[in-house]
């Protein structure tokens, strides 16, 4: 080994780069720089109202709620002392912003007082709109019906009389003089919408909710909160040793996902390394070359981590899981160099690199271009994976150039496997194989798209069980669909809800159950104010009617004052909506949300509604299975475009560099491999999605590498180079490991990419001359 200036330059550069990478990675706070939050897989700037609303919900106070049940194993309801001990322990921890016993808001009296005080703004518009409708239909059948205001007064008194016969009048009678139009009883309308639905609780369970101070998906909102919950349970158990606590919230799903995904990344990377190492051992003997291969993979990984963490913050751990395929690809370059046989035995690594430089660089560049093309994808997951793998491959390639020439080349570690693998020698065998592949490719006709957000989901069966248990006590029953109506302002969201309600009524469906009866539209509010101004004598009409019906009118004297106190400032209603939003907390707070970034109102279908109606613009189902799947289809279409453009670019590059028709053949073989992989999937499941497409694309880019070497070998009349075979097997091993993942998306990617690589090599294998035909 000669220590030339070039040697020292390479060594110095290598160590400097190693130092920079190591320093950067050691300086990172991984708890903040790595994310397992599923919402980080989606773009922050996502414009679709569905996703932006979902993103906000996951980050807002609604996601900070923990739903808790306490019960005794012996079937008794926990005593007040036990519940108090539990609540006091939670409150003392300072982890919670609010802890409330029951399912209602923390301040029902305050809300009741506020709604009562604002009844003419919040409740009167809806009351008037309903009455006007009744009056209009009455006018059709009774032409001599009195004028609207007189009819309203008579109708109001008739309603009071009827109300006094109801059970609830015993509790509300005292408020009637202040509220002769029975506006506050309209609050009960919301309760009436719960038709057929029993909210009866087993009288053995205490229910509570708690809002954490820290966000549910942050580490501070998980482990410390769970510790406090356990401590509170132990404290409460001092008074009731049979106490059982169940609780659920986004916090638990977040923590569970984090744990599972961390385990996933650890074992997938480890298994990938073992598989690739095992394959390498098949082709290389002795430890020294294995050490070289590990060094190249390590350099590649170091570079990939450094560059990705430099460009993205946070980096999603799923991108790193997908990136684990990098070690299968990075090792290829090392194998190409170590197993190269075309140069003389005494050739140095520098000479070998000069000899295979072009195909190596071309093969790598196609893969790198392919992965970098993922930067154009809208999904952060794909962008991060693209940068991770592309930068890792560049580092692996650069590592080969810097690292190998530092060592003296030896050739006695190569195994002679090429003769062991039988190649098709007879023409009929080749024809049989071609026919077989053609038959396989026909399966592509069975392929259909199935974009399902659940592919990204990590299953939590034990949490689902707890969720179901807790939900029962929080009153969940019947199949219902929830819809968000969204808008930039609360009033816009309300208008969108109104449009949806009108559409439902038009289609013969019951209105959605929501807060709409206590939140008027801007139009209804303006009309109500105008009515109050136009009919200033209505209180006198009402008093006259009350007197005629035996009421003590002196008690109703304040009504005129209320009637005249009309708020007309344009922003009054928006402010009232926001005030309502701040008042509603706990589970009830899920019914609406307003902040600077936008507003939404929640509406629920009645239980077990059979007909499905597509909501108008501005409203959409909460179910992410429906909405997010549509968005995923959009991303899939975008990924398909990227793939096609990349294929065209790579084909063009091949034709420019290797001339026609060699260049085109190089681009066509991986494409044929995709057709065959699609055929296999078509003959099996048939359903493919964004991640299969991604796998096809990655398989295509990687196969280009082998195709270039293979076609060049064919051009020179050589047999299948062992380096291609070894590289392909390591790659298939790396992708094959991904197919063991518990995440369906990762599995899809692993299977499809390994199929493409396998078929590309198989095609080459058939095309290349056998030893006999040489």
């Amino acid at each position: 080994m000669k220590f030339t200036p070039s040697y020292w330059f390479r060594a110095t550069l290598l160590f400097v780069l190693l130092g920079i990478g190591s320093f950067w990675l050691s300086s990172l706070d991984y708890s903040k720089h790595l994310s397992s939050d599923v919402m980080d897989l989606l773009p922050v700037t996502e414009q679709s109202p569905e996703l932006s609303t979902a993103l906000r919900i996951m980050r807002d106070r609604e996601s900070r709620l923990l739903y808790i049940t306490l019960e005794s194993t012996d079937g008794r309801v926990p005593t007040d002392a036990t519940v108090s001990a539990f609540v006091d322990s939670l409150r003392a921890s300072k982890q919670f912003k609010q802890v409330t016993v029951g399912r209602g808001p923390s301040n029902p009296e305050k809300i009741a007082e506020w709604v009562f005080a604002q009844r003419m703004n919040l409740l009167f518009p809806q009351w008037l709109a309903d009455k006007k409708l009744q009056y209009a239909s009455l006018k059709v059948t009774m032409p001599d019906v009195p004028p609207l205001d007189a009819w309203l007064a008579a109708d109001a008194v008739r309603s009071i009389n009827q109300f006094l016969e109801t059970p609830e009048s015993l509790a509300l009678a005292e408020t009637l003089p202040k509220d002769p139009l029975l506006l506050t009883t309209s609050l009960l309308r919301l309760q009436d919408t719960l038709q057929g639905e029993s909210v009866a609780d087993a009288n053995t369970v205490a229910v509570l909710w708690a809002e954490t101070k820290a966000p549910a998906l942050s580490p501070e909102g998980q482990a410390p909160v769970f510790a406090v919950m356990d401590a509170a349970r132990l404290t409460a158990m001092k008074t009731d040793s049979a106490l059982v606590m169940n609780y659920i919230g986004v916090h638990r799903y977040g923590a569970e996902s984090r744990t599972k995904i961390t385990q996933e990344i650890t074992w997938l990377n480890l298994l990938s390394l073992i598989a690739v190492g095992a394959v390498a051992c098949v082709f290389v003997r002795r430890l020294t070359p294995l050490f070289h291969l590990v060094a190249i993979v390590a350099l590649s990984m170091l570079g990939a981590w450094t560059v990705t963490t430099l460009f993205f913050n946070p980096v999603h751990v799923l991108a790193l899981v997908l990136g684990s395929l990098l070690c299968g690809e990075a090792i290829d370059y090392g194998l190409h160099i170590l197993l190269h046989r075309e140069c003389p035995q005494d050739a140095s690594y520098a000479q070998i690199l000069r000899h295979i430089g072009l195909p190596l660089c071309m093969g790598a560049s196609t893969t790198i271009i392919g992965f970098l093309a993922l930067l154009f994808s809208g999904l952060p997951l794909l962008r991060q994976t693209g940068v991770f793998v592309a930068s890792g491959l560049i580092c692996a390639l650069a590592g080969c150039w810097l690292y190998f020439p530092l060592w003296k080349r030896k050739t006695d570690w190569q195994r002679t496997w090429s003769g062991v693998v039988p190649q098709p020698r007879r023409a009929w065998v080749k024809w049989f194989l071609w026919l077989f592949l053609a038959g396989l490719s026909l399966g592509i006709t069975n392929v259909h798209w199935l974009d399902d957000i659940r592919d990204l989901d990590i299953k939590h069966p034990e949490l689902y069980e707890i969720q179901e248990k807790v939900n029962q006590h929080f009153g969940a029953s019947g199949e219902r669909t929830a819809y968000f109506s969204v808008g930039k302002s609360p009033l816009e969201a309300r208008d969108n809800l109104e449009t949806f309600q009108a559409l439902r009524i038009k289609h013969g469906l019951l209105p959605l159950q929501s807060l709409d009866s206590v939140l008027p539209t801007a139009r209804a509010w303006a009309e109500a104010n105008a009515f109050r101004q136009e009919h200033a004598d209505f209180p006198a009409l009402l008093i006259r009617e009350l007197a005629a019906n035996d009421f003590d009118t002196a008690l109703f004297a304040n009504f005129e004052e209320q009637w005249k106190a009309t708020a007309t400032a344009p922003d009054t209603l928006n402010l009232l909506y926001r005030e309502m939003n701040t008042q509603l907390d706990g589970p009830l707070g899920n019914l609406m949300h307003c902040d600077a970034s936008g507003s939404w109102l929640l509406g629920m279908t009645p239980p077990d509604e059979l007909q499905t109606l597509t909501p108008p613009a501005g409203s959409f189902p909460v179910s992410q299975l429906q909405t997010l799947n549509v968005i995923f289809t959009r991303y899939r279409e975008s990924a398909a475009e990227i793939s096609l453009i990349s294929w065209a670019l790579i084909a063009l590059l091949m034709i420019v560099v290797f001339r026609w028709p060699t260049g085109l053949m190089m681009a066509a073989i991986p494409l044929g491999a995709i057709l065959l992989a699609g055929g296999v999937l078509g003959w099996t499941s048939g359903a493919i999605n964004l991640f299969h497409l991604l796998g096809f694309f990655l398989g295509f880019c990687i196969s280009m590498d082998y195709t270039i070497f293979g076609i060049l070998a064919r051009r020179d009349g050589r047999i299948m180079p062992v380096s291609i075979l070894s590289s392909a097997i390591t790659t298939v091993a790396a992708f094959g490991v991904l197919s063991l993942s518990s995440v369906a998306a990762v599995r899809a990617l692993g299977i499809s990419a390994s199929l493409v690589v396998t078929f590309a090599v198989l095609i080459l294998y058939i095309m290349l001359p056998s030893r006999r035909s040489r």
């Binding site: 015993l170 009678a173 807060l515 008690l555 706990g586 009830l588 899920n590």
Partner: protein, 229 residues
């Protein structure tokens, strides 16, 4: 996160609004009744005078009862009372059911809480929050003649006539019960409860006169479903 529960939670909140937040304590003097030689009987059941023990034993033999009722509600805002007819069904196991004929509303009070049913069979209600007031729970204790529970809520006076007629006057002990009732007066003969007066202050009073009693009827499965939860 499950969105299915939101409206149910809203319902519980609204029940709380309806029954808790607007209820204010009446401020008038106690309704003047007509107790015969009142005797304080605020003692544990086993320590009661013999005639009261016998009466309570008789009352406790009633497992189920059906009757009609005539309810008269006196409101300060109306010069004349409101009269309501209805049916009452009681089962020691299933609770108390009041069916109001005019409004076709049914009120069921049982161990699980309050259930309201409309004529269309729509139901709402649930386990009442603490602020829901004492009306439903007290009614249930009254029909059970759960003496020990009543003693925790009321000071009790009563008298018995040689004819077998008896009267009870229950005066709330704590401010929470006082929010619901100023006093409760019950009149009956033997195991037959005749009149219940719920005095809610000068502005409100409810008199429930029961008649056509049927003691211990066997409720059919359909009736149980119709009357109770």
């Amino acid at each position: 996160m499950s969105m299915n529960a939101f409206h149910k939670r809203a319902a519980v909140f609204l029940v709380a609004l309806a029954f808790g937040s607007f209820v204010k304590a009446p401020d008038s003097s106690l309704y003047a009744g007509e107790p015969c030689r009142p005797l304080e009987i605020s003692g544990k059941e086993e320590a009661l005078p013999q005639e009261w023990k016998v009466l309570l034993d008789r009352l406790h033999t009633v497992k189920t009862v059906s009757a009609t009722f005539h309810e008269t509600r006196f409101f300060s805002l109306r010069k004349h009372p409101v009269a309501i007819e209805g049916e009452i069904h009681f089962s020691r196991e299933r609770g108390l059911s009041l069916l109001y004929k005019s409004s076709q509303r049914q009120l069921v009070v049982d161990e699980e809480g309050l259930l309201m049913r409309s004529s269309a069979g729509k139901t709402s209600g649930g386990k009442l929050p603490p602020e829901a007031g004492r009306i439903p729970g007290t009614l249930l204790s009254l029909f059970h003649f759960d003496w020990d529970t009543l003693l925790t809520l009321f000071h009790i006076e009563g008298c018995q006539e040689p004819t077998g007629e008896w009267r009870l006057l229950l005066t709330p002990l704590d401010p929470e019960t006082l929010k619901a009732f100023r006093a409760i007066r019950i009149k009956g003969v033997g195991e037959k409860v005749g009149t219940i007066v719920l005095d809610q202050g000068p502005s409100q009073r409810v008199e429930i006169a029961m008649s056509e009693h049927q003691f211990n009827p066997e409720f059919t499965a359909a009736e149980l479903k119709q009357y109770f939860r």
